[in-house]
Amino acid sequence: MSGPTSATTTGATTASDRPAALLRWLFFSLIVRPAVLVLLGLNLRHRERLPKQGPAILVANHNSHLDTPVLMSLFPQRLLPRLRPVAAVDYFLKDARRAWFARNIMGIIPLERRPEGGADPLLPLERALDRGDILILFPEGTRGEPEKMTALKSGIAHLARRRPDVPVVPIFIHGLGKALPKGEALLVPFFVDLFVGEAIAWSGDRARFMEDLAARFEGLAHEAPPPDWQ
């Protein structure tokens, strides 16, 4: 395994690595799926809107480290090698153990938040889409305040512009920020609501695309207003 400096080239190969792929399969079938079923419990609305295959881009609000594994558990196990969460290099590849787990078990594609020397940070994402992968992105950029949505970053719009045929599927998650918010290590069981929105097409304009996306999240969040959590 190469270090974080060659992130753009290694991102593509990790998911097909044999022993890692087996570990990843075991981790999801023996730990993630049973834990999601028993400790959390999902209330998934509009399951039919989830993409059946790649390429596709899932965008979700981000409140917890559990967001990624829970989103990945929505898909059949055979699609696991296709699921690629996009994660920030500066956070996930800082510590060696975390980096190993992020790359091999979660199968992340590292994203350089502040690229240096004119490197194109979206290139590995485009390559993954061209291979038929399903990307998982959190356009808020960070987990932030639990159960509160913040402004969306427009990197997703650049990606959508370059691959206008790939469906962008918004998913609103509620409850995981209560179960395991930022800075907490103790998981408290809560039911989780997941609302899948209709796919958004590239509208030809970055600002309009971002407005569409924000409006879609707004609509999903209002399908079932969550109880108070101060």
Partner: protein
């Protein structure tokens, strides 16, 4: 673990499946011609009943420990649903965790037949411990509401429901007799729910409590109580009661179950929701299913314990 070979238990479970089979023929077979019977809601309800009855039957037919684990898990699901619905405070995450920990402890008292501890653990010790843990968290805003709602949920989902589990232990070494008591309680309570729904749909007109639940009618209530009384009389062989006492208890259970249903309806109204969850298609959430059991279990357990054991 072993399968109990007590014939009365086996025959009763066979009877449950016979009723389910009849319901399936009505809903999926006749329902194709009569749209009122074949509605999506009814089909989902019957399918969910098959799954619930099978899980319950397996838990009963295995040994006592399996039955206790099953009921403890139902308590866990109910509490999780409740805590996900009510407003909670971020500062109380560890308090909620403590509330979850009360479940294995409470069912441990049941399994070890420590009646005194079983009966005071949640009303006394958890009642004192939860607010102390809240004080340590240091958040006073909304303190009273948080302390009240969390303990209320613990009482409903864990304390009340564990009374159904305690029925298993009442006859001492005679495990089959305990299983018979639990079967009697659950069948009569659930049949009462179905009967109230059924009579209400057929003849219901005047509403009992229009401001809380528009679906509850006098015809449903009275039809449910009578049905439960007859069924309880027929099932008296599962218990040490004579048939007419069992029938009276069945009628009382019909009223208690109705009250439990109403209380949960009021909670849902307060929270502005229709169902407590989506776990059981056709029924709603787990609390929608056990709301009447929460009321019938303690009353039935104390009646039986006081007069028969």
């Amino acid at each position: 673990m072993f399968v109990r070979l007590d014939p009365t238990i086996w025959w009763t479970i066979a009877g449950i499946y016979a009723v389910l089979l009849l319901a399936s023929v009505l809903v999926f077979g006749v329902g194709r011609r009569v749209p009122a019977l074949g509605s999506r809601d009814l089909c989902q309800r019957v399918t969910s009943w098959w799954i619930m009855a099978t899980l319950f039957a397996i838990a009963i037919l295995l040994d006592r420990i399996a039955s206790l684990v099953f009921l403890g898990f139902v308590s866990f699901l109910a509490l999780k649903e409740y805590l996900s619905l009510i407003p909670t405070r971020r500062a109380d995450r560890r308090v909620l965790f403590l509330a979850y920990l009360a479940i294995p402890v409470q069912y441990w008292w049941v399994g070890t037949e420590w009646y005194g501890m079983f009966i005071i653990f949640i009303p006394v010790y958890m009642f004192l411990l939860l607010p102390v843990r809240m004080v340590l968290a240091g958040e006073t805003q909304g303190f009273l509401r948080a302390a009240g709602t969390v303990h209320w949920g613990l009482t409903i989902c864990v304390f009340s429901l564990s009374h159904a589990a305690y029925l298993l232990m009442l006859p001492g070494d005679d495990a089959a007799a305990g299983a018979g008591l639990l079967l009697f309680l659950v069948i009569v309570t659930e049949a009462n729910d179905v009967a109230q729904y059924f009579w209400g749909k057929l003849f219901g007109r005047a509403r009992v409590t229009p401001s809380i639940s528009p679906n509850k009618t006098w015809a449903g209530l009275i039809g449910g109580i009578l049905t439960s009384a007859v069924l309880a009389g027929l099932l008296a062989f599962l218990t040490p009661m004579s048939w007419w006492i069992a029938a009276l208890i069945g009628a009382a259970g019909g009223i208690a179950g109705f009250c439990g249903d109403l209380v949960m309806s009021a909670v849902k109204r307060d929270l502005g929701i229709k169902d407590t969850g989506g776990m059981l298609p056709g029924h709603g959430g787990i609390l929608d299913r056990v709301d009447s059991l929460v009321f019938t279990a303690p009353l039935f357990m104390h009646f039986i314990r006081y007069f028969y054991y």
